[in-house]
């Protein structure tokens, strides 16, 4: 018995799905922006003195090794109980993403910073620049250039990771897809459509990242 395809379930609800897509993009952008700042701070902390460095290392290993789903549920159910406050769904969605991505970004930034030859730091200190000046004017501009492709990879994986927010009821693409699939009794067409939407968006981004890797390739 052949299955009768009926794509109208997908077309009729496309606007509803694209509504979800805008939230997917919003959650990705907000998390990435916050994670860039936080990740850089954690990387600098990791490279600084003993206690701060150790604390940063715990942060990095903790958030890199906990599954995102655990983080999402933790922020959603546990944090309000501990803190006595409630977060908006979008806020409790972006916070776990930010925590996870910032831990990965911290390692990327650290690798970038340590890859800049120490001779440059010594030279700059020798001509009388302060440590902050050396970092701001010499090391970071070069380090950030080097890690741009890796940041791109993290962005693409973050974009896909936002789908996990559907579990706590954030109305992004995956969540909207599940609603439409249930409402129309057409999971095959709807989920296939949602997967294709993700692919059409993420694949060009992945190609862009490949281009970045080629463009920013470091030659020592």
């Amino acid at each position: 018995m052949a299955y009768e395809w009926d794509w109208s379930a997908l077309w009729d609800n496309l606007a509803f799905l694209l509504d979800g897509l805008s939230l997917t993009v919003l959650a990705s952008v907000v998390s990435m922006a916050a994670a860039l700042v936080l990740g850089l701070l954690v990387a600098l902390a990791r490279l600084s003195g003993r206690w701060l460095g150790a604390a940063a290392q715990v942060y990095i290993e903790l958030f890199r090794n906990v599954p995102l789903l655990v983080l999402v549920l933790w922020v959603f159910t546990v944090l309000p109980l501990l803190g006595g406050f409630t977060l908006s769904p979008l806020m409790s969605g972006t916070l776990p993403l930010t925590l996870k991505i910032s831990a990965f970004l911290a390692e990327i930034f650290r690798a970038g910073i340590t890859s800049i030859a120490t001779g440059q730091t010594h030279a700059a200190l020798a001509i009388g620049m302060t440590r902050t000046q050396v970092l701001k004017r010499i090391v970071l501009p070069q380090a950030i250039r080097r890690v741009i492709p890796a940041l791109g990879s993290m962005w693409v994986s973050l974009f896909k990771d936002t789908s996990i927010l559907s579990v706590i009821g954030v109305g992004e693409l995956m969540y909207q897809g599940r609603i439409v699939a249930t409402d129309t009794y057409r999971p095959l067409e709807v989920f296939t459509g949602v997967a294709v939407i993700y692919y059409l968006l993420a694949y060009p981004q992945a190609l862009g990242v490949n281009w970045l890797f080629a463009k920013f390739q470091v030659q020592e």
Binding site: M1, Y3, E61, L62, N65, V66, P67, L68, L69, V70, L71, L73, W74, T77, V78, L81, L82, G84, F85, V156, K160, D161, T162, S163, I164, S166, V167, M174, G177, R178, A181, P187, L188, F191, T192, V194, A195, Y198, Y199, A202, Y203, A206
Partner: protein, 223 residues
């Protein structure tokens, strides 16, 4: 009004720890089985991507790109809720989970295999062919044995990632660690301790593994 401080009470967590550890066993089982599926699939796809027959290359490239460009969650939901409609029978959650995680990791492993194979200098391949070995012999006896050693660390990393990602299969109610934690959290009404403890369990498994992989990589494969 909320109380000023939360009264932590881990007794429920420790009381039901065996239940969580059973879930952890399923997590490890699912991850290992999926890695086995992924290794076989990944090797086949990598060889297809390197084959001389263009349509085979295109199909393999599309497979890799599609599975790497879509979230694991949609793949999981698709295999569990949508695929059975095409097949005409429903899949047990465990089978759907292993199949999806296997297909997903297979796409990443295919790229690891391909990079490993390509990294072996082509001079060796030419030399093997010049000696009268067939292409299959060159691949089996010369290229793959060397490539596999180089691929071991990234393969191990894929397995570790899979242990974390497998928490998603709780969504299709496979009774692994995350599923066990969520049921316990609602039964014991102690989500704070149960979820925190579960997070730490994952860290306790994943962190030593990644540390081990890094050590092995540094000691034996430093280039």
């Amino acid at each position: 009004m909320q109380p000023a401080g939360y009264n932590w009470d881990f007794s429920a967590f420790f009381k039901y720890l065996p239940f969580l550890l059973q879930g952890l066993e399923v997590t490890l089982l699912v991850s290992l089985l999926a890695t086995c599926v992924g290794l076989v699939l990944g090797l086949l796809v990598a060889l297809a991507r390197l084959s001389g027959f263009p349509p085979l290359r295109w199909v393999a490239a599309f497979y890799v790109d599609f599975l790497r460009s879509t979230p694991l969650l949609i793949q999981l939901v698709w295999v569990f809720f949508a695929l059975p409609i095409l097949l005409g029978y429903s899949l047990p959650p465990l089978v759907a989970a292993v199949a999806t995680l296997g297909a997903y990791s297979g796409a990443y492993l295919a790229e690891i295999f391909r990079a490993g194979i390509v990294s072996i200098a082509s001079g060796q391949r030419h030399a093997g062919l010049a000696l009268g070995m067939t292409r299959t012999q060159v691949m089996r006896r010369i290229i793959l044995p060397q490539a596999v050693v180089r691929m071991l660390p990234p393969i191990a990393s894929t397995l570790i990632t899979l242990i974390k990602d497998s928490s998603l299969v709780s969504v299709i109610s496979v009774a692994e660690l995350m599923w066990a934690a969520q049921s316990l959290a609602s039964v014991t009404l102690r989500p704070v301790e149960i979820l925190t403890g579960t997070g730490l369990l994952y860290v306790a498994v994943a962190y030593p593994l990644s540390l081990g992989v890094e050590l092995v990589r540094r000691r034996y494969l430093a280039t």
